[in-house]
């Protein structure tokens, strides 16, 4: 079991309040992703759950048990750090066995669990190497191995893929998702990359300035963002916002249209503009369009869409795909 509950958790460093008060429940077996821009407090929130930072006020419960004052080791959680945080003087085998050694587990059981973790993570042939002799992806696997041998109540990941190159990141993303499917253990994952959040999460928690802006499944956040911030953060490329008269026609202070929700034409449409940059990715083409009214929007077109820099283009939002926001930026 690994149900994590935060009750009005606050954190301040001196006079600076980083987390003004968060209430949140992560269900047993759930893959929850904390996402938000740099400095939004997502890592701090994870460290509060881990016990690496003390809460200023509020309570943290794991399976109904109050662990607010418990040291990290007593919380039965395992953490994977951004920098891997492997012990450089120990072999891979010793790195993975370290938490078991600390728990004074019999040697035979330690070896059995290390072998099992190594098999799951394809680390069998590297067990006697030192971390310095491994590649970034292998190091990250060792860090995950060290976490899984403990059979914790929940895994905490602090931006574990941000030190990897793009291709490896995609692989590791899939591996972590598969690991979650196999182990069915609660995972809390921090990232600033909304693609990671969308692809991995059962539940996304969007944070801004220490506040929870919205909690929901990836598609719920994509389809029904609670406010402009969430609407702009979820989805890639970002949602386009148009204010003024055009928005008023839709009965809103501001409207949002995702790049993939424009109907494009070279002859007619609701908004006319000029193509600034056309990014041909092969599968898609992203058009950066300067509208006649002065707004700048991005539109996604098919890979073969025949436009280039300087061409005139007309865009019409799909009717059921226009997001309306009021003056405060809340979904209307």
């Amino acid at each position: 079991m690994g149900r994590i509950t935060l009750e009005n958790v606050r954190k301040a460093f001196g006079d600076v309040e980083v987390i003004p008060g968060v209430d949140l429940t992560i269900e047993d077996g759930e893959f929850a992703v904390f996402v938000g821009p740099s400095g939004c407090g997502k890592s701090t929130l994870l460290r509060l759950i881990a016990g690496l930072e003390d809460v200023t006020s509020g309570r943290i419960l794991i399976d109904g048990q109050d662990v607010t004052a418990a040291p990290p080791a007593r919380r039965r959680l395992a953490m994977v750090f951004q920098s891997y945080a492997l012990y450089p003087h120990m072999s891979v085998r010793k790195n993975i066995a370290f938490p078991l050694k600390m728990a004074k587990m019999p040697e035979a059981e330690q070896q059995r669990r290390v072998a099992k973790a190594a098999r799951i993570l394809n680390l069998d042939s590297y067990l006697d190497r030192r971390p310095g002799q491994l590649s970034g992806g292998q190091r990250q696997r060792v860090a995950i191995g060290r976490a899984i041998v403990r059979e914790p109540e929940a895994f905490l990941f602090d931006e574990p893929l941000s030190n990897l190159d793009a291709a490896l990141r995609v692989n590791m993303r899939v591996e972590i998702s598969q690991l979650h499917n196999n182990l069915k253990t609660t995972m809390v994952y921090v990232t600033h990359d909304q693609v990671e959040a969308m692809t991995m999460a059962d539940k996304i928690v969007v944070l801004r300035a220490g506040r929870v802006e919205q909690v929901g499944s990836p598609l719920a956040l994509y389809n029904k963002p609670a406010n402009k911030f969430v609407a702009g953060f979820i989805g890639s490329p970002n949602m386009n916002f148009i204010d003024g008269e055009a928005a008023a026609r839709h009965g809103a202070h501001s409207i949002g249209v995702r790049p993939e929700h424009w109907r494009l034409s070279t002859t007619e449409g609701a908004f006319a503009g000029q193509v600034g940059v056309a990014e041909h990715l092969g599968s898609d083409t992203f058009l950066h369009v300067d509208l006649d009214g002065g707004a700048h929007v991005i539109a996604r077109a098919s890979g073969e869409f025949p436009v280039s820099h300087g061409d005139r283009i007309w865009l019409t939002p799909q009717d059921d795909r226009v997001y309306r926001f009021d003056k405060q930026g809340l979904a209307a």
């Binding site: 881990a50 690496l52 040291p71 990290p72 080791a73 959680l77 395992a78 953490m79 750090f81 951004q82 920098s83 945080a85 492997l86 012990y87 450089p88 003087h89 370290f98 938490p99 600390m102 728990a103 060290r146 403990r150």
Partner: protein, 215 residues
């Protein structure tokens, strides 16, 4: 020379005092440097500066109070007494060096150890110390050399029983006159062991002294 004054007794005193004061110093300095490096407070920098500033004070300024304290405690001409004084004198340097080393160790590794169930003692024993071995080794070497060559306190607080090699050299400069030949021979014999040790460990020492100087 061996007839006139017992070289080996002085040599053993030097060995015991320099190694003893170094080990005693590490015992105090490792936890001190750990807390300053990993649990710093607003006053940590001031504390470090203050510790270093004590090295700027002439030692003779505290000679009389320490002499009287030692006399009352029965520590005059006592190896342990000299060890304690030398440890205290070199402590700022040991703490500074270890602090610099510890600062180079990423905090996340220690946090990982904490998550893995290591208490403070296991964290220091299994993670911090093995990672800081090169730093601790060069700190030890430097401190042994400093303690070996220390003359002011050893001359003032010892007479015969606990007198190290510095006192052995000084004994050839007596009211009866300076015995240059013997003085030179004694000096050579006094510095020979530490010179040999320094020669073999020079790589480690240079690394220790320049550590953290260049990123």
């Amino acid at each position: 020379m061996q007839e006139r004054s017992n070289y080996f007794r002085h040599f053993m005193n030097s060995v015991v005092i320099s190694i003893g004061s170094t080990l005693l110093g590490l015992l105090v300095a490792v936890p001190a440097a750990w807390s300053m490096a990993f649990q710093p407070t607003r006053r940590t920098k001031d504390l470090l500066m203050w510790m270093l500033s004590t090295k700027m004070m002439p030692a003779v300024g505290v000679l009389i109070p320490i002499y009287i304290l030692f006399q009352r405690a029965g520590l005059l001409d006592n190896r342990f007494g000299v060890m304690v004084v030398l440890m205290l004198m070199n402590l700022p340097i040991i703490v500074w060096m270890l602090y610099t080393y510890f600062r180079e160790i990423p905090g996340e590794i220690l946090e990982a150890a904490r998550m893995d169930g290591a208490g403070l003692w296991n964290e220091i024993r299994h993670v911090l110390t093995p990672m800081a071995v090169p730093g601790i080794a060069s700190t030890m070497l430097l401190n042994i050399i400093l303690a070996w060559n220390e003359a002011f306190w050893t001359l003032n607080l010892t007479a015969s029983k606990a007198a190290p090699l510095t006192a052995f050299i000084a004994s050839y400069s007596s009211p009866e006159g300076l015995f240059y030949a013997k003085l030179s021979a004694a000096s050579t014999m006094a510095i020979a062991p530490i010179l040999v040790m320094g020669w073999f460990s020079q790589k480690q020492l240079v690394r220790g002294l320049t550590f953290g100087a260049v990123k």
